[in-house]
C-alpha cells in the first residue's frame, strides 16, 4: 500500500486520530507491557510456575526473601525429626546454620539429605562426628527464595503463575478472536453478497444459534472436544463469530449496491473476485473495531470457563483459574485473588480503551 505519500488515506488518517487519543495510547503501551512481561517474565522470575514449595504454602507477598527468621526453627526441627535425630541446639552465622544433633543410634552421614529435602536448606554436610557416632555437628546453608506475589495453597510462586496465566489468557484471546473474525467475516460476507434465499437461510441459522443458550453451547463444545488447549480456541472462537457475521453482512449489503461494485460487475469480474478484491477490504474498518472489542470478551469467556473448571488444566493456568483459586482462599490469602484479578481487569481496561480509540479513529461518520 502506498499510504505514506498521500498522508490523508483512511489508515494514515485513522492512525493520526488514534495517536491523539491519550487513553488509547496508554492502553496500547500497557497492553504491550503486559504481553512482554507475560512472554518473557517467566524466564526471569526466580521460581518456576509448577515447582511446589511445600514449606511455603500460602506465604504472603514480600520483597524480602524467605524464609523469615521465625520460620527456620520449626522447619529445622521438622527436618531433623524426619531423619530420626534429636536437635540439641543450633546457631546462625550469616546464611549458615550450625546444628548439633544427637541420636540413639549411630549417625549415618547420608542423613543430611533429610535436611536438604526441605525447601529452606541446601548443601548440608556433617562437619564433626563424635566418636561412637551418637552426636554430630552439621552445617547447612539457608536457601533464600523470593516470592514477590506470595505463593498459592500448594506452595507455587504466584508471580510466575500469574505471568504464565497471562500468556494463556492473552493467547486464547488473540487466537480465538482471530478464529471468530475469520469465520464471521467469511460467513457474513458470503451471506450479504449472495443475498436472496441463501442469505435468508444463512441468517436464520445465525438467529437460531443466537437463541441457543450460549453457555450451554460453549460447555457442550468443551465437553465434546475434551479439555484440550488448542481445541478450546476453536470452541470459543466458533461461538463468538455470530455478532461478527451480522455486522459484516449488514456492511456487505450496503457495499454491494455501491457504484464501484457495479462497475466491477460491468467489467466482468467474477463474484469471488469482487468479494475478495472489493468487498472484504472495505470491511476492514468495522472488522478491526469489532475485533478489539471481541478480544476482551474472549478473554472473559476463557477465564469464565476456567473459573468453572472447564478451561485449561493444572499445572497450566489462566487468570480465570487463579481468580477462582483466589476466591476459594479468601480471606486468609487475599493476594491470591488480588494479583490475577488486577492483571485481568487492567488488561481488559486497556483493550477497551484501544477498542474505543479505534472506533473513534475509524468511524467514517465522525469524519
Amino acid at each position: 500500500m502506498t499510504v505514506a505519500e498521500r498522508g490523508r488515506s483512511l489508515w494514515a488518517d485513522a492512525w493520526a486520530r488514534l495517536r491523539a487519543n491519550k487513553a488509547a495510547m496508554i492502553g496500547i503501551a500497557y497492553l504491550l507491557l503486559v504481553a512482554l512481561l507475560c512472554v518473557l517474565g517467566p524466564f526471569l522470575t526466580p521460581n518456576s510456575f509448577s515447582t511446589i514449595h511445600k514449606n511455603y504454602t500460602r506465604v504472603a507477598p514480600s520483597l524480602s526473601p524467605y524464609p523469615t527468621p521465625e520460620m527456620i526453627e520449626p522447619a529445622l526441627a521438622d527436618a531433623i525429626k524426619r531423619g530420626r535425630l534429636d536437635l540439641a541446639g543450633w546457631e546462625q552465622e550469616g546464611d549458615r546454620l550450625i546444628l548439633s544433633v544427637t541420636s540413639t543410634r549411630e549417625i549415618d552421614e547420608r542423613v543430611t539429605r533429610y535436611v536438604d529435602r526441605s525447601d529452606m536448606f541446601e548443601n548440608t554436610r556433617v562437619t564433626e562426628l563424635a566418636p561412637g557416632g551418637m552426636t554430630a555437628k552439621m552445617e547447612t546453608e539457608v536457601e533464600l527464595k523470593y516470592f514477590f506475589f506470595g505463593t498459592d495453597s500448594t506452595g507455587r510462586d504466584l508471580l510466575t503463575r500469574t505471568l504464565i496465566a497471562g500468556r494463556v489468557s492473552l493467547a486464547i484471546g488473540l487466537l480465538a478472536g482471530l478464529v471468530a473474525v475469520v469465520i464471521g467475516v467469511a460467513y457474513g460476507a458470503v451471506a450479504g453478497f449472495i443475498g436472496g434465499k441463501i442469505d435468508e437461510v444463512m441468517m436464520r441459522i445465525v438467529d437460531i444459534l443466537y437463541s441457543l443458550p450460549f453457555i450451554f453451547f460453549v460447555i457442550m463444545l468443551v465437553v465434546f472436544f475434551g479439555r484440550n488447549f488448542v481445541l478450546m480456541f476453536i470452541a470459543v472462537g466458533a461461538v463468538m463469530w455470530l455478532d461478527m457475521a451480522r455486522i459484516v453482512r449488514g456492511q456487505t449489503l450496503a457495499l454491494r449496491r455501491q457504484e464501484f461494485v457495479q462497475a466491477a460487475e460491468a467489467l466482468g469480474v467474477g463474484r469471488v473476485g469482487i468479494l475478495i478484491r472489493h468487498i472484504v477490504p472495505n470491511l476492514l474498518g468495522p472488522v478491526v473495531i469489532y475485533m478489539t472489542l471481541l478480544v476482551p470478551q474472549v478473554i472473559i469467556l476463557e477465564s469464565f470457563l476456567s473459573y468453572l473448571g472447564l478451561g485449561v488444566q493444572e499445572p497450566m493456568s489462566s487468570w480465570g483459574v487463579l481468580i477462582s483459586q483466589g476466591a476459594k482462599n479468601m480471606p486468609g490469602a487475599n493476594w491470591m485473588l488480588f494479583f490475577p484479578a488486577f492483571l485481568l481487569i487492567s488488561t481488559l481496561f486497556a483493550l477497551n480503551f484501544i477498542g474505543d480509540g479505534l472506533r473513534d479513529a475509524l468511524d467514517p461518520k465522525d469524519r
Binding site: I215, F216, I219, M330, A341, L344
Partner: protein, 307 residues
Amino acid sequence: MARFVFRRLMIAIPTLFLIVSISFFLMRVAPGGPFDQEKKLNPVIKANLERLYQLDLPLWQQYLAYLKGLARGDFGPSFSRPEFTVAEILQSGLPVSIQLGALALALALVVGTLLGVIAALNQNRLADYAVIATATAGSTIPTFVIAPLFQLSFALSLKWFPVGGWNDGAFVNQVGPVLTLMLPQLAVVARLMRGSMIEAMRSHHIRTARALGLSDGSVIFRHALRGAVVPVISYAGPAAAALLTGSIIVETVFGIPGIGRYFVDAALNRDYTLVMGTVIVVAVFTIFFNLICDVLYAVVDPRVRYD
C-alpha cells in the same frame, strides 16, 4: 399489532423445536453418559438403569419419546437427582432466579437510564465522566471478580451482609447477588442511554419543543426520553432473558438455589433431561422477551408499524 404478535408466535414454535432438536442431538454426540461415574457401576445395574430411562433405545426413538413427553408438558425424570423430576427441580429453582433477576433488571434499567440521562445532559462535565467511568468499570470487570470482591469487602471485612446462602429470600441475602447481577447490565444501559440521549437532545423536535417554551423537565422527560429509550429497549430483551434465568457465577458464588447453576452441573453429569429443561426455559424466555421488546418499540416509537 395482533397479527404481528400472532405471526411471531407462529415463528417461535418452529424455532423452539429446532433449538430442542439441536440441543438434544448435540448433547448426545458428546462422549459419556449419565451413569458413567468415577466409581464404575455394575454393568447389570447400569443396563437396568438405562432400560429404566429408555436410554437403551435407538437415539431417534428416544428423541421422539422426549418430544412426545414435552408435548404433554412432561420434562422427564432427572438422572443426577433421581428423587425429583426435571419439572420439580425447575419449579423450585426458577422462582428464586426470577426474583433476583427481576430485581437486578429493574434496578439496572431505572438507575442505568437515570445515570445515562444525567451524563448526557452534562456532556463532558464531571458528572458525565463519573458515569462513563462507572459504566466502563461495570462492563469491564467480570462477574466472577465482582462477586468474590463483594464477599471479601462487604461480607467478610465489614460484615454488613452474609457471605452467601438464600435463607428463604431474606433481604440481606439478596443484596450481594442482586448488585453483582445488576452492575454489568447497569453499565450497558447507562452507556446506551447516554449515547442516544445526546443524539435526541440535538434533534429537531426537541429544538421545536424548546422554541415553543416548554419547561426543561417536560422537554427531557416527555419528548427526548421517549425516543432515546429505544436502544435500551432492544437491549433489555436479551438482558431480561439472561437475568431471569439465573447466572451460573452468581448462584454458585453466593450459594443461591436458582436454576443457573444447573447449566454446568447438569451438562457435566450428562443429566440429559435436566440440561434440556434448562435449555428450553432459557429459549422460551429469550423468545418471549424479544417479542415483548418488539411490541414495546411500537408503543414507544409511533413510527414503528408492524402491519
